[in-house]
């Protein structure tokens, strides 16, 4: 692999072009494979497509670029602290609009750190939600009959259908 190449170009599912540095791309296994297989072959006309929409890809790349220095070289405790604060700010986003897309993208791109972070963020947000709100954001229909609801409520007094 040539070390002179510092960034690669990928296409989002919407067809937009994005640049991502080689060190940042290493945070994702599939992107890493692309680095080895496609981008450095002799006929490098073909730009690989990532099955992630543009809006989400912007955020994913932002995360990669921020975390790449630490992932590649290790970091001091103060860097880790700073990065934690950055993660919290980074995760302040709308659940339905973008967080779920980030989850899908992190899963698809095998990005463990981002996946854990997004899952934890989603879990923390859910703590403040009613069951109706949960159904709404996950697009779920209540498929319990009223008898079943009553039975569940009896078995689990903490259970709420609202």
């Amino acid at each position: 692999m040539s070390s002179s190449v510092e960034a690669i170009t990928v296409l989002s599912s919407d067809g937009d072009e994005f640049k991502i540095t080689v060190s940042a791309a290493k945070l994702s296994k599939p992107l890493n494979w692309m680095l080895e297989d496609v981008c450095f072959s002799d006929d490098c006309d073909e730009v690989p497509t990532i099955e992630v929409n543009s809006k989400t890809l912007v955020k994913v790349i932002e995360y990669c670029e921020k975390h790449a220095p630490r992932a590649n070289s290790g970091a001091s405790d103060s860097d880790a602290e700073e990065l934690k604060k950055w993660d919290i700010e980074f995760m302040k986003m709308d659940v339905k609009d973008i967080l779920f897309h980030i989850l899908m993208a992190a899963n698809y791109l095998h990005m463990e750190g981002l996946y854990d972070l997004a899952c934890q963020t989603a879990a923390d947000l859910m703590k403040g939600m009613t069951v109706s709100q949960i159904r709404k954001i996950f697009h779920i229909k209540n498929d319990f009959s009223s008898e079943e609801q009553e039975q569940l409520r009896r078995q689990h007094p903490g259970c709420s259908f609202d």
Binding site: M104, N107, F138, I140, D143, P157, G158
Partner: protein, 391 residues
């Protein structure tokens, strides 16, 4: 129709991702979300999800549990944010007074009081199951030693209880299996004649105690031939052997393990480190001004001739200038009681301190813990959805 991926603007998360999110939620929210839909209910009640959730909870939310000094039966939790919370009283009136926590494993607590039935309690789901006393024995609580643990091999929780002979050493032992639902007498083997400490720890499908095996054991007029050969004019207690006793929960077998070979006098305390049995050694030097704590870890293995045990000293703390009494290891810290006034007496209503000594940085921090009583046994507790059926 596959309900994953992008469906115009509607995004349906695949079950794998929903599962990853849900396993990060505390139990009370999972109970609330049982009612979201049938798919979620089945997911949350699935044993493999419960196991995943437990693993996540143990890893991220391991808390310390101790008895409150101010309430009759309230338990306090020191959580990973170093906050102390009072846990709900046990929902059984019989147990609300003077009950003792006898064990903690996978989010379940074993409680006992006098000769009343034991109770298994999951404080997070609020489920309780009574375990009857063993009827074949007269249960004299103060001389019986109890252990509680889980074996993934047989997927079963067990209570083991030993009974003394004429002295305080072990004579008989019984095991209650939760899946079997009854007590059964077991062979105590070479545990006979061992005096066990009351406190136990559990890890990796085994329960461990500290014990002392007398070299000379008289039992119903027989001489225990397993003990070392005696010497002339041997004084009583001279050849007592200090051991670690391990109980294999799956096989229901006791094994005596040598203690670490310390070349100094120390107060020793069993704990668990990196999922292995470990010993904390509090050393107070002869000059009475400096102390430190060593951590020894046990590696178990097997060879042709049987099992092998190797103790390795893994850490030595920075020196300190007052007496510390180590209790356990928690989140990469040695947890110690502090006795810097040296009175040794416990005063009611006083807030006691805990010291946390970091194993990596060796830094120590002092915590004032409301309602903490230094004499109370500290258990590890991570909440879980683990259930134990109905009796």
């Amino acid at each position: 129709m596959k309900r994953t991926g992008m469906d115009r603007d509607i995004l349906y998360l695949p079950e794998e991702i929903i599962r990853s999110i849900l396993k990060r939620l505390p139990v009370k929210f999972l109970i609330r979300f049982l009612c979201v839909c049938k798919r979620w209910k089945n997911l949350i009640q699935n044993p493999s999800f419960i196991a995943d959730h437990l693993q996540q909870s143990t890893h991220r939310n391991d808390a310390l549990l101790f008895k409150s000094s101010s309430h009759h039966f309230a338990l306090c939790l020191l959580d990973c944010g170093l906050q102390v919370r009072v846990v709900l009283k046990i929902p059984l009136m019989d147990f609300s007074d003077c009950a003792t926590v006898l064990g903690s494993c996978n989010g379940l607590l074993l409680l006992g009081k006098c000769n009343l039935p034991f109770a298994l309690w999951n404080p997070a789901t609020k489920a309780v199951r009574h375990v009857p006393r063993n009827r074949t024995e007269i249960d004299i609580s103060c001389h019986c030693v109890t252990g509680f643990g889980f074996s993934p091999i047989v997927n079963d929780y067990k209570i083991v209880r030993t009974y003394p002979g004429i002295d305080d050493t072990v004579d008989r032992a019984y095991v209650f299996s939760l899946s079997r639902g009854s007590w059964r007498g077991i062979d105590v083997g070479n545990l006979k004649g061992v005096k066990l400490d009351f406190e136990s720890v559990t890890a990796n499908g085994a329960i461990f105690w500290y014990g002392v095996k007398s070299s000379c054991v008289w039992e119903k007029g027989e001489y225990d031939i397993e003990a070392e050969e005696d010497e002339d004019d041997m004084e009583e207690g001279e050849h007592d052997v200090e051991v670690v006793v391990s109980f294999d929960i799956a096989k229901e077998v006791f094994t005596l393990i040598p203690r670490p070979n310390l070349e100094y006098n120390a107060e020793e305390k069993l704990t668990v480190y990196e999922n292995k049995l470990a010993v904390l050694c509090d050393i107070w030097k002869d000059d009475e001004t400096t102390g430190f704590i060593d951590l020894w870890v046990l590696d178990e293995g097997t060879c042709v001739s049987g099992e092998t045990w190797r103790w390795t000293k893994r850490h030595t703390s920075s020196p300190f200038s007052f007496r510390l009494d180590s209790r356990t290891i928690w989140r990469n810290e040695i947890v110690c009681n502090c006795d810097d006034e040296g009175t040794g007496e416990i005063q009611r209503g006083k807030a006691y301190d805990l010291y946390l000594m970091n194993l990596s940085t060796k830094e120590a921090k002092r915590l004032v813990i409301p309602r903490y009583r230094p004499s109370s046994h500290i258990y590890h507790y991570a909440e879980s959805l683990v259930s134990f059926g109905n009796n």
